[in-house]
Every structure is written in structure tokens, then in C-alpha cells.
């Protein structure tokens, strides 16, 4: 860090920073000037191995999926190592299937509802944590950490038992409260109802991260801004609009963006609950992709679905990506 700063400040001025003793930095500085081409390349050379590794790990599978989507790749071709190009056949197959459109729409509605719900509850808890007394806040934080630390499949199993038709605590509680019609009620009798339960689970799993991130943003807002707002006689809502909102807006956008990515590709929870049932009514795009790719061994078609998923995700997050690129360019 110091070295970079020295170069930056020294290069345009051509002078030694006054705060540093000349005897020490002077020599080093001269040497840096002499090997300047190498020195300028050095950070990039040092970064190169990590960069290549990351590009290989992230970029290569993306390229691979894209290339695979233009091939006929069933189990036989995969084992024999055959390459059969089919052009856009896989895309035609997928796009002509009305089920794909139905599932896409369902996935988008599901993602949007889960993201909106989880981000608003997360924000609510973050705001609440600011006004809680320290002990209550710590208790809340510990509870959330526990929820966060729970493995996905473990919590999914717990939810399955909670909503179980015959032995679930929810049905039993509802019957105790006098709602007798819930005895033996099946929460998984329709796709909407199944996805609501899955959505609830995903929201529950997402809240700790969202609440902690947003709370970190809130803590950074100076107290005197609130005091000033208080002196001006602002109501709670006005304070939120004028003081809190501008400060956490970009953070909120980022966590919303991340949540969208995560919730869009949720697979394990949906599959474990009812394998996309009943009658395929809770099948989302990742489940469809799994059915085509792993269950039916049509890897080419599954790859085409993956590419289309990326396109849909790109469209959903288009506004955010544009803003992100603009700010980055502005900074550069």
C-alpha cells in the first residue's frame, strides 16, 4: 500500500514526499524509476496466476455451457467423446415447448416475490436492531447466526416435518387453536401452495445475511444526522426517507441484486420438498434443467436451458447491471 502511494504521489510530482526521511526513501525511489517498465508490470504479473485461475474456474464453464448448448450431447455421446453439432436445434426444442414458458413465468414470479419479501423483512430487522437495547440485539443476532449456520438440507428437512400432513406441528397447532379443518391438511396439494412453503423457507434462510449486511450499512450513518433531523421535527418516516434511505440505497440495491441471483437458481429446497410436484406444478427453471440434463441425460438441451436462464437473469437485473457499469466507468 505504501509503495503504491509513493509511486502515485511521486510520479507526477517527481519529488519525495516531505514527511519521509530522504535517506531511506530516496534510494528506493530512484531504483524504482530506473526499472519502471518492469515495476509497472510487476503488480499485474503477481496478480496473473490468481487471475488466470479465476478466469479458468469461472469463465471456462460458462464457455463450455454455451458451446454444449449447440451440440447433441446425450449419455452416449458423452461416454464415447463424440461431437455432434446440431446448430440451434436445442433452442428450438426448448422454446417450442410450452412448458418452458410456463416454468419461466413461474420462476420469475417466484424469484420476485421471494426477493421482495426477504429484502423487506431483512431491512425491517436491520432497522429494528438499531433501536434495540444491546442485550436484546445480541440475542437476536445470535438467533439469526444460528439460523444462518444451519445447513440447507437440514433446515429443509425441519420444514418438511413442520408442514407434514399427519405429524406436522403446524397442523397440530392449528387444530388445537380450533381450526379443525387443518387435521390432515396437505400443504403440498398444489404448486402455488408448495412454492409458498418453499419460499417461506428460502426467506427464512436469506434474512440473516440481509439483516446483517443492511445493519452494517445503517451503523455507518452518523448519529448527528438523526439528531439534526430530530431537532428539525422530522417524523420517523421522514427521517427514514431523508437520512437513512440515501445512505443505504446502494447497499440495498446490491443485496437485492445478489438475492435475485441466489433465489433465481434455487434448486435443492424445491427438489427436496416435492421434486417439482405435484404434477410438475412447482417446477422452476433449475428443476427443469436438472430433469432434462441429469434425469434424462440430454445435456445439450439442459445447456440450452442454462443459457436461456442467463438471458432471463440478465433481463431481470438489466437496470442494476447498467448502473453498476456506469458507476464503475465513472470511477475509472
Amino acid at each position: 500500500m505504501t509503495a503504491v502511494e509513493t509511486t502515485e504521489t511521486a510520479a507526477p510530482a517527481g519529488d519525495i514526499p516531505p514527511a519521509l526521511p530522504p535517506a531511506v526513501t530516496g534510494g528506493a525511489h530512484k531504483r524504482r524509476r530506473r526499472g519502471s517498465a518492469f515495476d509497472r508490470a510487476l503488480p499485474y504479473l503477481l496478480l496473473a496466476p490468481a487471475l488466470i485461475a479465476i478466469l479458468w474456474l469461472i469463465g471456462w464453464p460458462v464457455v463450455s455451457v454455451f458451446v454444449t448448448s449447440f451440440r447433441q450431447l446425450n449419455l452416449g455421446e458423452l461416454v464415447r467423446g463424440e461431437v455432434v453439432w446440431t446448430g440451434i436445434d436445442n433452442y428450438v426444442t426448448v422454446l417450442q415447448d410450452e412448458r418452458f414458458w410456463e416454468v419461466s413465468l413461474r420462476t420469475i414470479v417466484f424469484t420476485v416475490s421471494v426477493v421482495v419479501a426477504s429484502v423487506s423483512v431483512g431491512l425491517g430487522i436491520a432497522l429494528l436492531m438499531r433501536v434495540l437495547t444491546p442485550w436484546v440485539r445480541i440475542a437476536l443476532q445470535i438467533a439469526m447466526l444460528c439460523a444462518w449456520a444451519m445447513p440447507i438440507l437440514a433446515s429443509t428437512t425441519v420444514y418438511q416435518w413442520m408442514f407434514d400432513q399427519n405429524y406436522g406441528i403446524l397442523n397440530k397447532t392449528l387444530v388445537q387453536l380450533g381450526f379443525d379443518s387443518f387435521a390432515g391438511y396437505s400443504w403440498f396439494s398444489s404448486g402455488t401452495s408448495t412454492l409458498s412453503v418453499v419460499g417461506l423457507l428460502i426467506i427464512w434462510q436469506a434474512i440473516p445475511f440481509l439483516a446483517f449486511s443492511l445493519y452494517a450499512g445503517l451503523v455507518g450513518i452518523p448519529r448527528d444526522l438523526y439528531e439534526a433531523a430530530g431537532i428539525d421535527g422530522a417524523t420517523g418516516w421522514q427521517t427514514f426517507r431523508a437520512v437513512t434511505w440515501p445512505e443505504i440505497r446502494s447497499l440495498l440495491m446490491m443485496v437485492t441484486f445478489l438475492s435475485t441471483l441466489w433465489d433465481f437458481k434455487v434448486f435443492a429446497q424445491i427438489w427436496v420438498f416435492r421434486e417439482g410436484g405435484p404434477s410438475g406444478e412447482s417446477t422452476t427453471l433449475p428443476v427443469l434443467q436438472y430433469l432434462e440434463g441429469i434425469a434424462k441425460s440430454h445435456f445439450g438441451v439442459a445447456a440450452a436451458i442454462s443459457v436461456l436462464m442467463m438471458v432471463i437473469l440478465g433481463l431481470i437485473t438489466f437496470q442494476y447491471l447498467r448502473k453498476l457499469l456506469q458507476t464503475e466507468e465513472g470511477k475509472l
Binding site: P61, L78, V83, Q165, S279, I294, A295, S306
Partner: protein, 424 residues
């Protein structure tokens, strides 16, 4: 070529990563085989058999056996990823309905020339057909089994049912008596029948004269919407409705939870199950040994038994196996009379031995032997696996019909169309 293979492996790896599955890799790959990996299924062969077999093979050949037991649930997906890897297991067990599609994709080694060393003359016909594609054999029959009604002798006797029922009407009558006799236990299930027990549904459909699909000029069409098949669905509902006061949910199958575990709790009078499921229940609760027996699934016609799905397994060697020679030796040993007799003793119809004397020594084996001549299979075509893998239309139709989400006509029509589409 090599690059593309890497690419394909990358795609598969990505698919695996996305689906959250893991594959177990096996060691090996040396020119000289030091170890072979054997995958057998949960409940196929008793540990007494496999222990003896592995020990004999290890000492005779000096090759270690890495023996792994796989679960049936999700096996299609697991085999797909395993067979696509460069180091697949050397011996695998496949369900008879899955074998054709894996063979069709060229993932299994052609064993036609070697059938002599696997006791080829005594292979079980139904299984031999399931592993034969275009006149070539892609495996060795392992064992066959079919479902019977497993029941608690003590509970039936207490309820006043003295002889096993011989018609469907008698059977429902026995279920009702059993239910009445145990009315004080709210968790009691006279018959443990989940809503998606589709192999049992096949029995009823066949008993009514219907079928799943018919072939016409190489094209398969679903036939679940025929009056006969609908009658099978109605029979299922009648039995399901009678089965218990607190019924098993309509949207689960016999594997989730394992019905043998439920049977082992003691709150269950009967279940439609395989011999190994009874063995599992008895293992967990040894006192049940003396209190359990079995009878063939009764037909609606008095005095005869309903057709049953002939379940079974084949053994195969993946094409990509680097230890095929050692794997063949292993299969050769397993198909010898000694181990086939052990299989029969364990309650299964042996695949490479016509001698079933050992089978009929207990009640379950007798029920099995009585109904197995009536055994039928799902359509023998590489396309069938696509129906069973993932979301099975038969299960969906059962759930929709039993919960009332769809009418019988609608549920069977949808299922028929789904089957036609999957087999196209």
C-alpha cells in the same frame, strides 16, 4: 477430440455442481488391476453373501474389492454421472427397466461372447430380455423379485381373519376387520399404502386388463385413459380409502419414508412389498420374524393372484471400466451355483440358476414363487427410462386423483399424454 472430451467433462461437472450432487471417484487406472469397484443396490444381496463373495474373490485373484452399496432413490442420476466419468465403477447393478436405455447409449460393455462363463444357459428369461438389445447381451441377470402382500400373522388372527384372502373383495374385507379390531390405536394402519405406490398400481391395471402403453408401428402411445386402466385406478382408490383411518399422504411413494421402517414400528398390519423390505423390517425388530408372512396380491377374480411387476436387477460392466477383465471374473464367480443358491435363500429368484428349491423354504418365498409366473414388465424399450426418471406421470396421476385435484378422466388423460410424449 481430447479437448472436447474435457469440455464435456466440464459440462458434466458443472451440471453436477449445479444440482448439488456429488460423485464418488474410484481409484485405479493402472494397467495391472489392484482393486475393482463394485456397486450393488440397497437390499439386493445379503451381507452374508457379499462378504463371502468378496473374500473368495480377493483371495483367489489378489485383487481388492471396493464394495459400495447404493440407494435406489436417485440411482438413475447417479449412474449417469458415474458412467460419464473416466473412472466409473467396474461392476454395477441396474434395475431391469433401466438397462435398455443405458445399453442403447453404448455405456455398457457387450458381454455376448462371454455369456458362457456366466452360466448363460440358465439365465432367467424375463431378465435376459431386459438386457438384450438388437440381439446382444449387455449384462448378466442378477435376481428377480416381485411384490407380495406382507402381513402380521398375529394381528390378522386377532382380528378374526384366519386364512389369507384369495380375492380383492376378501382382501378389502380383511383390511376392514383389521381396522375395526385396532380402532383404539389412532396411529394404526391396517394396510400401509402410500398414494404413489405405482408398481402396485400396475398390478391392479393389469388385473383389470389394461396396460401402460401400446406399441404401434414402432411408436408408443400411453393407454392409461382406457376403461380398463381407469378401473385399475378406481381399485387403487378403493383399497387406499379402506387402508386406514389416518391414511398415508397421497403424495409420497414407498421409499420416502422407507415403508419397511414404518412396518417395523408395529402399527402396520400389512404392506405391499418386496422380500428385502420384510428382511429390513425384521432386522430392525427381530421379534417380528415369527409374526410375519405373505400372500400373493389377490386378483379381482376369486382364487387367482393378480399379475405383478417383475422387478429385478442386472449386473453390467461399464464400457469405460479399466478393469473389465477382473470385473468379468467377479461376475463369473457371482453367477456360480454357490452364490445363486444364497440369493434364493435370501428370498429372490436367482438370475443365473434355474434351481429355485431354496426359494420355497419360507412363506414369503412361496408367495413369490406362486405369483412370479404371472410377472409382467414395463414396456421394453430404451425410451422407458425417461418415463421413470424425474417426474413419473403415473405417480402424478395417482396423487392428483386420490387428492381430488383432478378427476379420474383428467388425471389418466394427462398421464397418458405425458407417457406418449416421454416415449416419443
Amino acid at each position: 477430440m481430447k479437448g472436447w472430451r474435457g469440455l464435456a467433462a466440464g459440462a458434466a461437472a458443472l451440471a453436477v455442481a449445479v444440482s448439488g450432487c456429488g460423485t464418488s471417484t474410484s481409484s485405479g487406472g493402472n494397467t495391472e488391476t489392484k482393486e475393482i469397484t463394485v456397486w450393488l443396490m440397497d437390499g439386493s444381496a445379503a451381507p452374508t453373501l457379499t462378504d463371502a463373495l468378496n473374500k473368495e474373490f480377493e483371495s483367489a485373484n489378489g485383487i481388492k474389492v471396493k464394495y459400495e452399496v447404493q440407494k435406489w432413490t436417485g440411482i438413475q442420476e447417479k449412474l449417469t454421472t458415474a458412467l460419464a466419468s473416466s473412472t466409473p465403477p467396474d461392476v454395477i447393478e441396474l434395475g431391469n427397466t433401466q438397462t435398455a436405455s443405458f445399453a442403447d447409449q453404448g455405456t455398457l460393455a457387450d458381454l455376448t461372447a462371454d455369456s458362457g462363463q456366466f452360466n448363460g444357459g440358465e439365465w432367467l428369461g424375463g431378465l435376459k430380455d431386459s438386457l438384450t438389445l438388437n440381439g446382444k447381451q449387455y449384462g448378466v441377470p442378477f435376481y428377480a423379485a416381485n411384490r407380495t402382500v406382507i402381513y402380521r400373522t398375529d394381528l390378522l388372527q386377532a382380528a378374526g381373519v384366519t386364512a389369507p384372502p384369495t380375492s380383492r373383495a376378501e382382501w378389502i374385507d380383511a383390511i376392514n376387520k383389521l381396522k375395526a379390531a385396532n380402532a383404539s390405536n389412532p396411529d394404526f394402519q391396517a394396510l400401509y399404502l402410500p398414494g404413489q405406490s405405482w408398481y402396485f398400481l400396475l398390478s391392479l391395471i393389469w388385473d383389470e386388463g389394461g396396460d401402460i402403453a401400446k406399441q404401434d408401428g414402432g411408436k408408443w402411445t400411453g393407454t392409461l385413459d382406457t376403461p380398463q386402466a381407469k378401473a385399475g385406478f378406481e381399485a387403487y382408490k378403493a383399497i387406499y380409502d379402506a387402508s386406514a383411518t389416518k391414511k398415508v399422504p397421497a403424495d409420497i411413494d414407498e421409499a420416502k419414508p422407507q415403508q419397511m421402517e414404518v412396518f417395523g414400528t408395529g402399527n402396520v398390519g400389512m404392506m405391499v412389498g418386496l422380500p428385502w423390505e420384510l428382511a429390513g423390517a425384521v432386522k430392525a425388530k427381530p421379534e417380528l420374524t415369527e409374526k410375519t408372512s405373505a400372500f400373493p396380491i389377490p386378483s379381482k377374480k376369486a382364487g387367482s393372484s393378480a399379475p405383478v411387476f417383475l422387478g429385478g436387477s442386472n449386473l453390467a460392466i461399464p464400457t469405460a471400466s479399466k478393469n473389465a477383465a477382473a470385473a468379468k471374473k467377479y461376475l463369473s464367480l457371482l453367477s456360480s451355483k454357490k452364490y445363486q443358491d444364497l440369493l434364493a435363500e435370501g428370498g429372490a429368484v436367482p438370475g443365473t440358476s434355474k434351481d429355485t428349491a431354496k426359494l420355497a423354504t419360507n412363506a414369503v418365498g412361496k408367495a413369490l414363487a406362486a405369483s412370479s409366473p404371472n410377472g409382467k414388465v414395463t414396456p421394453v424399450t430404451p425410451k422407458w427410462a425417461a418415463v421413470e426418471a424425474g417426474q413419473n406421470p403415473l405417480k402424478d396421476a395417482l396423487t392428483a386423483y386420490l387428492t381430488g385435484a383432478k378427476s379420474l378422466d383428467q388425471a389418466t388423460k394427462d398421464a397418458s399424454e405425458a407417457i406418449t410424449k416421454a416415449m416419443a
